[in-house]
Protein backbone atom coordinates (compact mmCIF):
# COMPACT_ATOMS: atom_id res chain seq x y z
CA UNK A 1 0.00 0.00 0.00
CA UNK A 2 2.75 2.38 0.97
CA UNK A 3 4.46 1.77 -2.38
CA UNK A 4 1.35 2.86 -4.30
CA UNK A 5 1.00 5.89 -2.06
CA UNK A 6 4.61 6.80 -2.80
CA UNK A 7 3.92 6.78 -6.54
CA UNK A 8 0.66 8.71 -6.42
CA UNK A 9 1.60 11.38 -3.88
CA UNK A 10 5.40 11.46 -3.85
CA UNK A 11 5.72 14.77 -2.01
CA UNK A 12 3.04 14.06 0.58
CA UNK A 13 4.51 10.60 1.19
CA UNK A 14 7.87 12.13 2.02
CA UNK A 15 6.32 14.98 4.02
CA UNK A 16 4.36 12.55 6.19
CA UNK A 17 7.57 10.86 7.26
CA UNK A 18 9.36 14.16 7.91
CA UNK A 19 6.44 15.48 9.99
CA UNK A 20 6.82 12.47 12.27
CA UNK A 21 10.55 13.19 12.60
CA UNK A 22 11.61 10.02 10.85
CA UNK A 23 13.02 9.26 7.40
CA UNK A 24 11.47 6.81 4.92
CA UNK A 25 14.20 4.24 5.64
CA UNK A 26 13.54 4.37 9.39
CA UNK A 27 16.50 6.53 10.36
CA UNK A 28 16.30 9.64 12.53
CA UNK A 29 17.35 12.93 10.88
CA UNK A 30 20.85 12.77 12.31
CA UNK A 31 21.43 9.04 11.94
CA UNK A 32 23.94 7.91 9.39
CA UNK A 33 24.12 4.59 7.65
CA UNK A 34 26.46 1.78 8.63
CA UNK A 35 29.91 1.87 7.11
CA UNK A 36 31.67 -1.27 5.93
CA UNK A 37 35.24 -0.98 4.81
CA UNK A 38 37.66 -3.48 3.32
CA UNK A 39 41.28 -2.91 2.31
CA UNK A 40 43.23 -4.70 -0.43
CA UNK A 41 40.15 -6.19 -1.99
CA UNK A 42 41.70 -6.16 -5.45
CA UNK A 43 44.99 -8.04 -5.50
CA UNK A 44 46.14 -6.88 -8.93
CA UNK A 45 46.34 -3.22 -7.93
CA UNK A 46 49.05 -1.55 -5.90
CA UNK A 47 46.49 -0.61 -3.26
CA UNK A 48 42.73 -0.78 -3.10
CA UNK A 49 39.73 -0.40 -0.85
CA UNK A 50 36.01 -1.00 -0.99
CA UNK A 51 33.54 0.95 1.08
CA UNK A 52 29.87 0.43 1.66
CA UNK A 53 27.80 3.17 3.29
CA UNK A 54 24.35 1.64 3.47
CA UNK A 55 23.87 0.54 -0.13
CA UNK A 56 26.31 3.01 -1.69
CA UNK A 57 29.34 1.03 -2.78
CA UNK A 58 32.55 2.51 -4.15
CA UNK A 59 35.74 0.65 -5.09
CA UNK A 60 39.05 2.43 -5.39
CA UNK A 61 42.11 0.96 -7.06
CA UNK A 62 45.51 2.59 -7.19
CA UNK A 63 48.00 2.05 -9.97
CA UNK A 64 51.58 3.28 -9.91
CA UNK A 65 53.54 4.45 -12.91
CA UNK A 66 56.80 6.27 -13.48
CA UNK A 67 57.01 9.41 -15.54
CA UNK A 68 59.08 12.49 -16.15
CA UNK A 69 57.91 15.49 -14.08
CA UNK A 70 56.53 18.54 -15.83
CA UNK A 71 59.21 21.04 -16.84
CA UNK A 72 57.51 23.87 -14.92
CA UNK A 73 57.23 21.80 -11.73
CA UNK A 74 60.37 19.63 -11.78
CA UNK A 75 60.09 18.39 -8.18
CA UNK A 76 56.42 17.43 -8.17
CA UNK A 77 54.90 14.01 -8.76
CA UNK A 78 51.40 13.37 -10.03
CA UNK A 79 48.23 12.20 -8.34
CA UNK A 80 45.33 11.67 -10.69
CA UNK A 81 41.90 10.94 -9.28
CA UNK A 82 38.97 9.86 -11.37
CA UNK A 83 35.45 8.83 -10.42
CA UNK A 84 33.40 6.67 -12.71
CA UNK A 85 29.65 6.46 -12.42
CA UNK A 86 28.69 3.65 -14.77
CA UNK A 87 25.17 2.64 -15.83
CA UNK A 88 25.65 -0.23 -13.40
CA UNK A 89 25.29 2.00 -10.36
CA UNK A 90 22.03 3.77 -11.09
CA UNK A 91 19.35 4.00 -13.76
CA UNK A 92 20.18 7.70 -14.10
CA UNK A 93 23.40 6.98 -15.94
CA UNK A 94 23.50 5.85 -19.55
CA UNK A 95 26.33 4.14 -21.38
CA UNK A 96 28.66 6.39 -23.34
CA UNK A 97 30.89 9.31 -22.40
CA UNK A 98 30.63 10.45 -18.75
CA UNK A 99 27.58 12.59 -18.06
CA UNK A 100 27.81 16.15 -16.75
CA UNK A 101 26.89 14.92 -13.30
CA UNK A 102 29.65 12.31 -13.30
CA UNK A 103 32.17 14.94 -14.37
CA UNK A 104 31.04 17.25 -11.59
CA UNK A 105 31.36 14.51 -8.95
CA UNK A 106 34.82 13.66 -10.24
CA UNK A 107 35.77 17.33 -10.05
CA UNK A 108 34.44 17.73 -6.50
CA UNK A 109 36.36 14.69 -5.26
CA UNK A 110 39.57 15.89 -6.91
CA UNK A 111 39.09 19.40 -5.51
CA UNK A 112 38.39 18.27 -1.95
CA UNK A 113 41.37 15.99 -2.02
CA UNK A 114 43.73 18.62 -3.45
CA UNK A 115 42.51 21.21 -0.93
CA UNK A 116 43.07 18.87 2.02
CA UNK A 117 46.78 18.75 1.11
CA UNK A 118 46.96 15.24 2.58
CA UNK A 119 49.53 14.14 0.02
CA UNK A 120 52.50 16.33 -0.61
CA UNK A 121 53.21 15.95 -4.31
CA UNK A 122 56.90 16.56 -3.62
CA UNK A 123 56.97 13.18 -1.82
CA UNK A 124 56.12 11.54 -5.13
CA UNK A 125 59.20 12.91 -6.87
CA UNK A 126 62.15 10.51 -7.06
CA UNK A 127 64.77 12.49 -8.98
CA UNK A 128 63.88 16.14 -9.70
CA UNK A 129 63.32 16.86 -13.38
CA UNK A 130 63.98 13.20 -14.23
CA UNK A 131 61.67 10.78 -12.53
CA UNK A 132 58.49 10.90 -10.46
CA UNK A 133 55.63 8.65 -9.45
CA UNK A 134 52.26 8.93 -11.11
CA UNK A 135 49.56 7.67 -8.76
CA UNK A 136 46.38 6.85 -10.62
CA UNK A 137 43.42 6.60 -8.23
CA UNK A 138 40.42 5.19 -10.03
CA UNK A 139 37.17 5.05 -8.16
CA UNK A 140 34.24 3.12 -9.54
CA UNK A 141 30.80 3.39 -8.07
CA UNK A 142 29.06 0.01 -8.04
CA UNK A 143 25.86 1.10 -6.37
CA UNK A 144 24.77 4.71 -6.13
CA UNK A 145 22.42 5.17 -3.22
CA UNK A 146 23.31 8.75 -2.33
CA UNK A 147 26.28 10.47 -0.67
CA UNK A 148 28.73 9.22 -3.31
CA UNK A 149 31.31 11.90 -2.53
CA UNK A 150 31.61 10.73 1.10
CA UNK A 151 32.22 7.17 -0.01
CA UNK A 152 34.71 8.22 -2.71
CA UNK A 153 36.82 10.25 -0.29
CA UNK A 154 36.73 7.38 2.21
CA UNK A 155 37.95 4.71 -0.22
CA UNK A 156 40.50 7.08 -1.70
CA UNK A 157 42.15 7.94 1.59
CA UNK A 158 42.01 4.34 2.84
CA UNK A 159 43.70 3.01 -0.27
CA UNK A 160 46.32 5.76 -0.17
CA UNK A 161 47.00 4.94 3.48
CA UNK A 162 47.64 1.31 2.59
CA UNK A 163 49.78 2.21 -0.43
CA UNK A 164 53.49 1.44 -0.32
CA UNK A 165 55.97 2.75 -2.86
CA UNK A 166 58.73 0.38 -4.03
CA UNK A 167 62.30 1.62 -3.99
CA UNK A 168 63.53 3.01 -7.29
CA UNK A 169 67.16 3.39 -8.24
CA UNK A 170 67.92 5.86 -10.96
CA UNK A 171 71.30 6.03 -12.57
CA UNK A 172 71.86 9.64 -13.59
CA UNK A 173 74.54 8.81 -16.17
CA UNK A 174 73.01 5.87 -17.98
CA UNK A 175 69.44 6.97 -17.18
CA UNK A 176 68.71 3.38 -16.21
CA UNK A 177 65.77 2.72 -13.91
CA UNK A 178 65.62 -0.27 -11.62
CA UNK A 179 62.69 -0.95 -9.32
CA UNK A 180 63.22 -2.99 -6.19
CA UNK A 181 59.80 -4.25 -5.12
CA UNK A 182 61.12 -5.97 -1.99
CA UNK A 183 61.84 -2.66 -0.26
CA UNK A 184 58.65 -0.68 0.13
CA UNK A 185 57.99 2.54 2.00
CA UNK A 186 54.51 3.77 2.89
CA UNK A 187 53.39 7.04 1.38
CA UNK A 188 53.37 9.96 3.78
CA UNK A 189 49.78 11.10 4.41
CA UNK A 190 48.93 14.27 6.22
CA UNK A 191 45.77 13.94 8.27
CA UNK A 192 42.66 12.14 7.17
CA UNK A 193 40.07 14.10 5.21
CA UNK A 194 36.51 12.97 5.80
CA UNK A 195 33.59 14.31 3.77
CA UNK A 196 30.04 14.36 5.06
CA UNK A 197 26.98 14.99 2.89
CA UNK A 198 23.78 16.60 4.00
CA UNK A 199 20.52 16.98 2.14
CA UNK A 200 18.50 20.08 2.96
CA UNK A 201 14.74 19.73 2.86
CA UNK A 202 12.73 22.93 2.83
CA UNK A 203 9.58 22.53 4.83
CA UNK A 204 8.63 26.11 5.51
CA UNK A 205 9.27 27.68 7.90
CA UNK A 206 12.02 25.29 8.94
CA UNK A 207 14.73 23.70 6.84
CA UNK A 208 15.49 20.12 7.79
CA UNK A 209 18.94 18.69 7.44
CA UNK A 210 19.26 15.00 6.62
CA UNK A 211 22.65 13.42 7.20
CA UNK A 212 24.12 10.88 4.81
CA UNK A 213 21.09 11.01 2.47
CA UNK A 214 20.07 8.08 0.30
CA UNK A 215 19.48 8.55 -3.43
CA UNK A 216 15.72 8.82 -2.87
CA UNK A 217 16.17 11.52 -0.23
CA UNK A 218 18.59 13.41 -2.49
CA UNK A 219 15.97 13.43 -5.21
CA UNK A 220 13.27 14.75 -2.87
CA UNK A 221 15.61 17.49 -1.64
CA UNK A 222 16.25 19.21 -4.94
CA UNK A 223 17.87 16.53 -7.05
CA UNK A 224 21.34 15.12 -7.17
CA UNK A 225 24.10 17.65 -6.80
CA UNK A 226 22.21 19.85 -4.34
CA UNK A 227 23.85 18.28 -1.29
CA UNK A 228 25.85 20.22 1.22
CA UNK A 229 29.26 18.56 1.49
CA UNK A 230 31.58 19.40 4.36
CA UNK A 231 35.07 18.05 4.53
CA UNK A 232 37.07 18.15 7.74
CA UNK A 233 40.76 17.36 8.01
CA UNK A 234 43.31 17.91 10.76
CA UNK A 235 41.21 20.44 12.69
CA UNK A 236 40.47 22.46 9.58
CA UNK A 237 37.82 22.54 6.93
CA UNK A 238 39.13 21.73 3.49
CA UNK A 239 35.94 22.11 1.52
CA UNK A 240 32.42 23.29 2.22
CA UNK A 241 30.31 22.99 -0.88
CA UNK A 242 26.68 23.50 -1.60
CA UNK A 243 25.21 24.10 -5.02
CA UNK A 244 21.71 25.49 -5.04
CA UNK A 245 18.86 23.32 -3.81
CA UNK A 246 17.01 24.42 -0.71
CA UNK A 247 18.34 27.42 1.11
CA UNK A 248 20.07 26.86 4.40
CA UNK A 249 19.53 29.05 7.46
CA UNK A 250 22.35 30.18 9.69
CA UNK A 251 21.43 27.92 12.63
CA UNK A 252 21.06 24.82 10.45
CA UNK A 253 24.43 25.57 8.90
CA UNK A 254 26.15 25.76 12.31
CA UNK A 255 24.61 22.45 13.28
CA UNK A 256 25.95 20.76 10.17
CA UNK A 257 29.49 21.89 10.94
CA UNK A 258 29.31 20.27 14.39
CA UNK A 259 27.88 17.03 13.00
CA UNK A 260 30.52 16.89 10.27
CA UNK A 261 33.27 17.13 12.88
CA UNK A 262 31.73 14.38 15.00
CA UNK A 263 31.25 12.10 12.04
CA UNK A 264 34.84 12.58 10.92
CA UNK A 265 36.02 11.21 14.28
CA UNK A 266 33.94 8.11 13.78
CA UNK A 267 35.08 7.57 10.20
CA UNK A 268 38.69 8.06 11.24
CA UNK A 269 38.26 5.31 13.81
CA UNK A 270 36.72 3.00 11.21
CA UNK A 271 39.60 3.55 8.80
CA UNK A 272 42.27 3.09 11.46
CA UNK A 273 40.70 -0.11 12.82
CA UNK A 274 40.43 -1.49 9.32
CA UNK A 275 44.05 -0.74 8.48
CA UNK A 276 45.26 -2.18 11.79
CA UNK A 277 43.40 -5.44 11.22
CA UNK A 278 44.89 -5.68 7.75
CA UNK A 279 48.47 -5.46 9.02
CA UNK A 280 47.87 -8.29 11.51
Amino acid sequence: MAEVYKLIHPVKYFNDYINRNVRPDGRKFEDQRNIKLNVNAIKSTDASAVVKCGNTTVVCGIKLELAKPKAEEPDFGFLVTNVELLPLCSSKFRPGPPSDHAQVISNIVADIFANSKSVNLKDLCIVPDKLAWVVYCDMVCLDNDGSVVDACIMTLITSLKSLTLPKVNYDVETEEISVDTSIRTPLNINGLPVATSFAVYQQSPRSIVLIDPSAYEEEMCGGTGANLIICWNNGQFCGIQKFGGSNLSNEAEKKTLIIAKERSKLVEKVIETCLKNEIK
Partner: protein, 218 residues
Protein backbone atom coordinates in the same frame (compact mmCIF):
# COMPACT_ATOMS: atom_id res chain seq x y z
CA UNK B 1 39.97 43.76 12.67
CA UNK B 2 37.68 46.27 14.35
CA UNK B 3 33.97 46.73 14.01
CA UNK B 4 34.50 49.85 11.94
CA UNK B 5 36.47 47.85 9.45
CA UNK B 6 33.65 45.37 9.09
CA UNK B 7 31.03 47.92 8.19
CA UNK B 8 33.10 50.05 5.88
CA UNK B 9 34.09 47.43 3.38
CA UNK B 10 34.19 48.30 -0.25
CA UNK B 11 33.62 45.91 -3.07
CA UNK B 12 35.47 46.15 -6.31
CA UNK B 13 33.84 48.75 -8.58
CA UNK B 14 30.97 47.22 -10.52
CA UNK B 15 29.93 48.43 -13.94
CA UNK B 16 27.01 47.00 -15.78
CA UNK B 17 25.03 47.38 -18.97
CA UNK B 18 21.71 45.66 -19.58
CA UNK B 19 20.23 44.81 -23.01
CA UNK B 20 23.76 44.55 -24.31
CA UNK B 21 22.71 42.10 -27.01
CA UNK B 22 19.80 43.00 -29.24
CA UNK B 23 18.61 39.51 -30.25
CA UNK B 24 18.40 37.72 -26.91
CA UNK B 25 15.50 37.89 -24.46
CA UNK B 26 17.71 39.27 -21.76
CA UNK B 27 21.37 40.10 -21.56
CA UNK B 28 23.84 41.80 -19.29
CA UNK B 29 27.51 42.61 -19.30
CA UNK B 30 29.10 43.07 -15.90
CA UNK B 31 32.56 44.16 -14.84
CA UNK B 32 33.64 43.60 -11.26
CA UNK B 33 37.03 45.16 -10.96
CA UNK B 34 38.82 43.92 -14.06
CA UNK B 35 36.85 40.71 -14.46
CA UNK B 36 34.27 41.00 -17.23
CA UNK B 37 31.50 38.56 -18.14
CA UNK B 38 28.69 38.67 -20.70
CA UNK B 39 25.52 36.65 -20.17
CA UNK B 40 22.60 36.11 -22.53
CA UNK B 41 19.27 34.54 -21.53
CA UNK B 42 16.79 33.01 -23.95
CA UNK B 43 13.54 31.47 -22.96
CA UNK B 44 11.18 30.05 -22.09
CA UNK B 45 11.48 28.21 -25.40
CA UNK B 46 10.77 24.85 -27.00
CA UNK B 47 13.18 22.04 -26.28
CA UNK B 48 13.59 18.40 -27.20
CA UNK B 49 10.89 16.26 -25.67
CA UNK B 50 13.34 14.00 -23.84
CA UNK B 51 14.81 16.87 -21.86
CA UNK B 52 11.44 18.39 -20.98
CA UNK B 53 10.24 18.24 -17.43
CA UNK B 54 6.52 18.29 -16.70
CA UNK B 55 7.07 19.99 -13.38
CA UNK B 56 9.38 22.86 -14.16
CA UNK B 57 11.45 24.59 -16.80
CA UNK B 58 14.72 22.96 -17.78
CA UNK B 59 17.69 25.22 -17.40
CA UNK B 60 20.56 24.84 -19.82
CA UNK B 61 23.80 26.62 -19.05
CA UNK B 62 26.61 27.00 -21.53
CA UNK B 63 29.88 28.44 -20.36
CA UNK B 64 32.34 29.61 -23.00
CA UNK B 65 35.78 30.26 -21.65
CA UNK B 66 38.20 32.69 -23.18
CA UNK B 67 40.45 29.85 -24.31
CA UNK B 68 37.73 28.28 -26.41
CA UNK B 69 38.03 24.56 -25.65
CA UNK B 70 35.46 23.21 -23.18
CA UNK B 71 36.92 21.31 -20.24
CA UNK B 72 35.85 19.41 -17.13
CA UNK B 73 36.42 22.58 -15.11
CA UNK B 74 33.88 24.36 -17.31
CA UNK B 75 31.33 21.62 -16.54
CA UNK B 76 31.89 22.39 -12.89
CA UNK B 77 31.28 26.12 -13.40
CA UNK B 78 28.16 25.37 -15.43
CA UNK B 79 26.91 23.15 -12.63
CA UNK B 80 27.43 25.88 -10.01
CA UNK B 81 25.51 28.41 -12.08
CA UNK B 82 22.79 25.97 -13.11
CA UNK B 83 22.06 24.84 -9.57
CA UNK B 84 22.11 28.41 -8.26
CA UNK B 85 19.86 29.85 -10.95
CA UNK B 86 17.47 26.90 -10.76
CA UNK B 87 16.82 27.81 -7.13
CA UNK B 88 16.26 31.44 -8.06
CA UNK B 89 13.97 30.98 -11.07
CA UNK B 90 10.30 30.10 -10.49
CA UNK B 91 10.61 27.24 -12.95
CA UNK B 92 7.21 25.78 -12.07
CA UNK B 93 5.58 28.65 -14.00
CA UNK B 94 7.13 27.47 -17.26
CA UNK B 95 6.68 23.69 -17.37
CA UNK B 96 7.84 21.70 -20.44
CA UNK B 97 10.02 24.56 -21.65
CA UNK B 98 13.69 25.33 -21.64
CA UNK B 99 15.60 28.37 -20.51
CA UNK B 100 19.06 28.76 -21.93
CA UNK B 101 21.78 30.75 -20.31
CA UNK B 102 24.90 31.46 -22.34
CA UNK B 103 27.92 32.86 -20.61
CA UNK B 104 30.95 34.33 -22.30
CA UNK B 105 34.01 35.03 -20.23
CA UNK B 106 35.72 38.19 -21.47
CA UNK B 107 38.38 38.90 -18.84
CA UNK B 108 39.38 36.91 -15.78
CA UNK B 109 41.28 38.78 -13.10
CA UNK B 110 40.04 36.75 -10.14
CA UNK B 111 36.50 36.12 -8.94
CA UNK B 112 35.25 34.92 -12.31
CA UNK B 113 32.54 32.70 -10.87
CA UNK B 114 31.13 35.32 -8.51
CA UNK B 115 31.02 37.82 -11.36
CA UNK B 116 29.30 35.23 -13.55
CA UNK B 117 26.60 34.47 -10.97
CA UNK B 118 25.89 38.17 -10.47
CA UNK B 119 25.81 38.80 -14.20
CA UNK B 120 23.49 35.81 -14.73
CA UNK B 121 21.13 37.23 -12.12
CA UNK B 122 21.10 40.63 -13.85
CA UNK B 123 20.46 39.01 -17.23
CA UNK B 124 17.57 37.01 -15.75
CA UNK B 125 16.13 40.20 -14.25
CA UNK B 126 16.49 41.86 -17.63
CA UNK B 127 14.68 39.01 -19.41
CA UNK B 128 11.70 39.41 -17.10
CA UNK B 129 11.78 35.79 -15.92
CA UNK B 130 9.68 35.13 -12.80
CA UNK B 131 12.05 34.64 -9.91
CA UNK B 132 11.72 33.42 -6.35
CA UNK B 133 14.49 35.75 -5.20
CA UNK B 134 17.62 37.41 -6.52
CA UNK B 135 21.06 36.02 -5.83
CA UNK B 136 24.29 37.81 -5.02
CA UNK B 137 27.69 36.17 -5.03
CA UNK B 138 30.58 37.40 -2.91
CA UNK B 139 34.04 35.96 -2.63
CA UNK B 140 36.44 36.26 0.22
CA UNK B 141 40.13 35.39 0.47
CA UNK B 142 42.17 34.46 3.52
CA UNK B 143 45.58 36.07 3.10
CA UNK B 144 48.96 34.80 4.37
CA UNK B 145 48.52 36.39 7.80
CA UNK B 146 45.03 34.95 8.19
CA UNK B 147 43.05 38.15 7.59
CA UNK B 148 39.96 38.21 5.45
CA UNK B 149 39.87 40.14 2.20
CA UNK B 150 36.50 40.68 0.57
CA UNK B 151 36.37 40.56 -3.23
CA UNK B 152 40.11 39.97 -3.62
CA UNK B 153 42.07 41.31 -6.56
CA UNK B 154 44.09 39.08 -8.87
CA UNK B 155 47.32 39.40 -6.84
CA UNK B 156 45.47 38.76 -3.59
CA UNK B 157 43.92 35.60 -5.06
CA UNK B 158 47.33 34.31 -6.11
CA UNK B 159 48.86 34.81 -2.67
CA UNK B 160 45.87 33.69 -0.61
CA UNK B 161 45.76 30.63 1.63
CA UNK B 162 42.09 29.94 1.06
CA UNK B 163 39.26 31.26 -1.06
CA UNK B 164 35.63 31.15 -0.02
CA UNK B 165 32.72 31.91 -2.33
CA UNK B 166 29.17 32.40 -1.17
CA UNK B 167 25.87 33.10 -2.90
CA UNK B 168 23.02 34.57 -0.85
CA UNK B 169 19.37 35.08 -1.68
CA UNK B 170 17.74 38.49 -1.38
CA UNK B 171 14.88 37.69 0.98
CA UNK B 172 16.28 36.15 4.14
CA UNK B 173 19.96 36.35 3.15
CA UNK B 174 20.16 32.57 3.45
CA UNK B 175 22.99 30.67 1.86
CA UNK B 176 22.10 29.32 -1.59
CA UNK B 177 25.48 28.18 -2.82
CA UNK B 178 28.87 28.03 -1.20
CA UNK B 179 32.17 26.55 -2.26
CA UNK B 180 35.69 26.85 -0.99
CA UNK B 181 39.28 26.36 -2.05
CA UNK B 182 42.11 25.67 0.37
CA UNK B 183 41.76 24.87 4.07
CA UNK B 184 40.62 27.16 6.88
CA UNK B 185 39.42 27.01 10.47
CA UNK B 186 35.82 27.06 11.65
CA UNK B 187 36.10 30.60 13.06
CA UNK B 188 37.41 31.90 9.75
CA UNK B 189 34.52 30.28 7.96
CA UNK B 190 31.93 31.76 10.29
CA UNK B 191 33.45 35.21 10.09
CA UNK B 192 33.77 35.10 6.31
CA UNK B 193 30.16 33.96 6.02
CA UNK B 194 28.91 36.78 8.25
CA UNK B 195 30.90 39.46 6.45
CA UNK B 196 29.95 38.23 3.00
CA UNK B 197 26.33 38.17 4.10
CA UNK B 198 26.59 41.85 5.06
CA UNK B 199 28.38 42.68 1.83
CA UNK B 200 25.71 40.97 -0.27
CA UNK B 201 23.47 43.91 0.64
CA UNK B 202 25.70 46.15 -1.47
CA UNK B 203 25.29 43.89 -4.48
CA UNK B 204 21.49 43.90 -4.10
CA UNK B 205 21.58 47.71 -3.88
CA UNK B 206 23.61 47.76 -7.05
CA UNK B 207 21.03 45.54 -8.82
CA UNK B 208 18.30 47.93 -7.70
CA UNK B 209 20.19 50.96 -9.06
CA UNK B 210 20.85 49.30 -12.39
CA UNK B 211 17.29 48.11 -12.88
CA UNK B 212 15.96 51.55 -11.91
CA UNK B 213 18.17 53.14 -14.52
CA UNK B 214 16.77 50.95 -17.29
CA UNK B 215 13.16 51.07 -16.22
CA UNK B 216 10.81 53.96 -16.99
CA UNK B 217 8.16 52.95 -14.49
CA UNK B 218 10.05 52.72 -11.24
Amino acid sequence: MGVEDENNFKLRPMKCELNYLSKSDGSAILAQGETVVLVSVNGPLDIKSNSQSIEKATLEVLFCGKGGKPSVADRFKENVIKQTCETAILGCLYPRTGISLTIQELEDYGGLLTCTVNCACLALLNSGMAMRHMVAAISCAVNEVGNLVLEPSYEQVQSSRALLHFVFESREKNLVTGFTEGSFSEDTYEEALARCRLASELVFDFYRDIVRKYSNVI
